[in-house]
Symmetry: C2
Subunit: 379 residues, 2 copies
Amino acid sequence: MNPITYELIKTDKQTGARLGRVHTPHGSFDTPTFMPVGTLATVKTMSPEDLQSMQANIILSNTYHLWLRPGEDIIREAGGLHKFMNWDGAILTDSGGFQVFSLSDMREIKEEGVHFRNHLNGEKLFLSPEKAMDIQNALGSDIMMAFDECPPYPAEYDYMKASVERTSRWAERCLQAHNRPHDQGLFGIVQGGEYEALRKQSAEDLVSLDFPGYAIGGLSVGEPKHVMNKVLEFTTPFLPSNKPRYLMGVGSPDALIDGAIRGVDMFDCVLPTRIARNGTCMTSNGRLVVRNAKYARDFNPIDEHCSCHVCKNYSRAYIRHLIKCNETFGFRLTTYHNLHFLLKLMEQVRTAIKEDRLGDFKESFFEQYGLNKANPKNF
Amino acid sequence: MNPITYELIKTDKQTGARLGRVHTPHGSFDTPTFMPVGTLATVKTMSPEDLQSMQANIILSNTYHLWLRPGEDIIREAGGLHKFMNWDGAILTDSGGFQVFSLSDMREIKEEGVHFRNHLNGEKLFLSPEKAMDIQNALGSDIMMAFDECPPYPAEYDYMKASVERTSRWAERCLQAHNRPHDQGLFGIVQGGEYEALRKQSAEDLVSLDFPGYAIGGLSVGEPKHVMNKVLEFTTPFLPSNKPRYLMGVGSPDALIDGAIRGVDMFDCVLPTRIARNGTCMTSNGRLVVRNAKYARDFNPIDEHCSCHVCKNYSRAYIRHLIKCNETFGFRLTTYHNLHFLLKLMEQVRTAIKEDRLGDFKESFFEQYGLNKANPKNF
């Protein structure tokens, strides 16, 4: 029996978006969903109880970072990542592939894997499909990701084709190296850039290996939004309807809605937590930079339409004061609010799918968030 | 009716320590007690719920810091400090006197007050008894402190005598300037350094003004512990038994016990929260520097005898990992533990007083904490 299963509940008649449920060894979650990112075995500033109280049922953690600190052996000894960080919900770990390409220096890609220097102290390291599986097996995440090559955007067709084929060979090696298929589900990652033929080739290669879920990688890497949407439109039909689909690295409200409309079930991104630590909040009326001077005497909540604990108890003036003073409780409050905002947004998306009105919901959300203005902010 | 009242419940037959209860407009608390410090309207890394869950019923906040940021007018507009920071328990504010002497440059003490430059940007400022009352009235704390001069240690007798007399004149001006005597209680601060005659003079001056409580200032400023204990021994008998006594700036476990034994009811200090952010924890077996390498694979709790949420759910290895990675959740966990430790210690002290065995408790606590060794650590 596969540890990860997906249940398609219904599709939205307006858009084709999918309402579903994913079952894992650490509980189930409704989709489409957003996964908060806990890079170093902690969602920055949040406690597990904070995350539970906003109904986060699955979080993401980063294999590359945990491999370097504290090291996967320590987490294995602790009894796995869930126990180490006191999180009883589901965990998805990435493969380290993206970080090798985004954070490290002097990488050399070979068929056996990638040689590179780490971003902390320049030490020489080697990551391969087998090593990525070994680390993730030590972490014990519910959902593991195959080790892929993450090509830059844009990339030439020939480069991308060779890369996609290597990623497929690596995916097969990942499946073979995976030691805990009974309690950890491994997802393949579809690459291929903006080329439909290569996305098709990548998806077909991976689907033939019968993963319990599929990620769409190589998006949100600098391409315009319309390119991302186009790629999603032609890629998701290549994926089986009885498996979950995960769009990696996407967390702006518009992209979450646009992704759901194109058949995506799972998303993750550091955006809500990262901007929170810079004093920027997502609200139903668009983004609000609470550290701005104009909020010094504003005793309203961050978002008057928000039902979260932060908006019920704290004012913009107080949060601005904390952030100006570099008080971590301020970052804790903005982080909580932003994550709650995105999780609530996904709940609204699911309700809209249930009621066959996700197209209408998108229209009204985009209008209120300010996304229909000329040159809207990215989030 | 005075907003602050003290109820003496009983004294310990072994030591004379006082078990009591202080009533404030924002609830009552049992004494002896320790007050966590929330300098900038936040106990660093903690939420109000965190503090409530460890039974902190009163916290301290700093007038000087809030005067500079965000400014007392903003807090007044917010409806006072309780509302601004979402804290429904009691709050004590200091007068700013200590910070003027410890943080500022180029201070000039005159009869009307103190001219100085602030520690943030060097701006010229002036703090006086009247200004300190005005700010604290804006903050709306339950317990306010009179504006005093904090002389250095050691100081000559003649300097100290003149200073004590000025502090008494300032105390009278504070009483006259205090605009909210119906809902904020003002404490006088006994000074006098290590001179018994001056402590007596200071106490008699202030007691004649009939404050609802008295602080003992000018201790924990660099003098040896035996000097502090001696000063407490000859000072508390000058204070009325029906008013609470507050020893300012003391938070090491031994000094809390020694202070209680000498008749002190309230304490505050940044020690537990400050060392927590450096990865140092207080435990029943003495202090533990959890960031040390030897805890990298130690999956025990910080303190195996501790019942706090942190010790029930997190290991030394996890907390060390977080702190090494500069993750604020690590500081949140060590801060929670240390504050819980001191609040629990004060609960043990109160129980020991109730059972007339505080002397015995001190003996066994000092032994287990390692305070009876040669050259013990300061905390």
